[in-house]
């Protein structure tokens, strides 16, 4: 484990760096209108970042040593299905959690 000085450099560096990333466009662009082609791309940011962020966690969960896991895959399918049908985030989370624990219980 690293020393105290390095730890505080990491905490402050990460804090300043993260704030800079978050403030970048919001702070600099401000009132200026963005061109239509930029807006068109930005409409897809959420569906472009979040699925990619979780895809490896779904297929190769660290908790199972990177092996695909039936309980987790079932939970994914149920969450997605309930989310698409109900369009309700909370309902999808609950359904996914029940599917995860249910499948883990049945397979145990």
């Amino acid at each position: 484990m690293i020393g105290t000085w390095e730890l505080w450099i990491i905490i402050l560096g990460l804090g300043i760096g993260s704030f800079t990333l978050r403030f970048s466009f919001l702070g600099i662009i401000g009132k200026r209108a963005l061109p239509e082609w930029v807006l068109r791309h930005l409409r897809y940011t959420a569906v472009a970042v979040l699925p990619g962020l979780i895809a490896p966690l779904v297929l190769w969960p660290a908790a199972t040593g990177g092996e695909p896991d039936p309980a987790r895959l079932t939970a994914v399918a149920v969450t997605l299905l309930v989310g698409i049908i109900t369009r309700n985030v909370l309902a999808a989370i609950f359904a996914g959690a029940i599917a995860l624990y249910g499948t883990m219980y049945l397979l145990a």
Partner: protein
């Protein structure tokens, strides 16, 4: 009238953000536990959650510090994980960019996965909301989520004992994000962007410093935008 609609927007945001307590709760406790086990004291652990306020990057940094990675590599990798925040910032700009600088700075600090995802979904549904209403909604979403991040980090750090792996808390994040994404899949370009993101993220998972995710996100945005152009052109023809 404006203040009444701002007030109702705040509480609507609060209600929409509140379910994420279920996710932020276990995730923050887990961070507290992991950080304490890595040798950080309570003040250092709390500083992490208050100064950085980004779960995935915090976990990345702790993991690399445990692996004795050089300070620069820890910083570069954790910031790479957080590069998506710049995309969130760009995406919020058309909606909140006209706010005064100090308000934009506060919005920036509180731009996290949950506050972004919930807010942008609402703003895309109601793009005509005036600025005050959008800001009120954003801070409504933030209110139950972010202060709780500090509280649960403290609980985890204080408890300091490992949560049994049977609870599969690692899966709290994927399930939440999926639940957010599913209702957004309302057009063909959105579905194609989502599929592209998954395929590219897996194909480029080997790229170091989480840069594969940025490649995937960029590719998926281009696919979504191009598909939209093609469909609009066909509709006109």
């Amino acid at each position: 009238m404006a203040s009444a609609s701002s007030k109702s927007a705040f509480w609507k945001g609060f209600r929409d953000g509140a379910p994420f307590l279920l996710v932020v709760g276990p995730f923050g406790v887990l961070f507290g536990v992991v950080a304490t086990e890595a040798g950080l004291n309570i003040m250092e652990t709390m500083a992490f959650s208050i100064v950085v306020i980004a779960g995935a990057a915090q976990f990345t940094a702790i993991q690399l510090m445990v692996d004795d990675a050089p300070t620069l590599v820890v910083l570069a990798t954790a910031l790479a994980v957080n590069l998506r925040m710049a995309i969130y910032s760009a995406s919020l700009t058309p909606h909140l960019g006209v706010a005064p600088l100090w308000q934009r700075a506060i919005v920036a600090y509180f731009t996290v996965d949950q506050s972004y995802a919930v807010s942008i979904a609402q703003f895309e549904k109601t793009p005509d909301w005036p600025l005050r209403r959008k800001l009120a909604y954003f801070f409504g979403v933030v209110t139950p989520v972010c202060p709780m991040w500090y509280v649960v980090t403290w609980i985890g750090a204080y408890a300091g004992t490992a949560i049994p792996p049977e609870f599969a808390l690692d899966f709290a994040i994927p399930i939440t994000f999926l639940a957010i994404i599913a209702p957004l899949l309302r057009t063909v370009p959105h579905v194609l962007a989502c599929v592209t993101s998954v395929v590219l993220a897996l194909a480029f998972a080997w790229v170091p410093y989480s840069l594969g995710l940025l490649i995937a996100a960029f590719g998926a945005m281009v696919v979504g935008a191009q598909m939209e152009v093609i469909i609009t052109r066909r509709a006109k023809a």
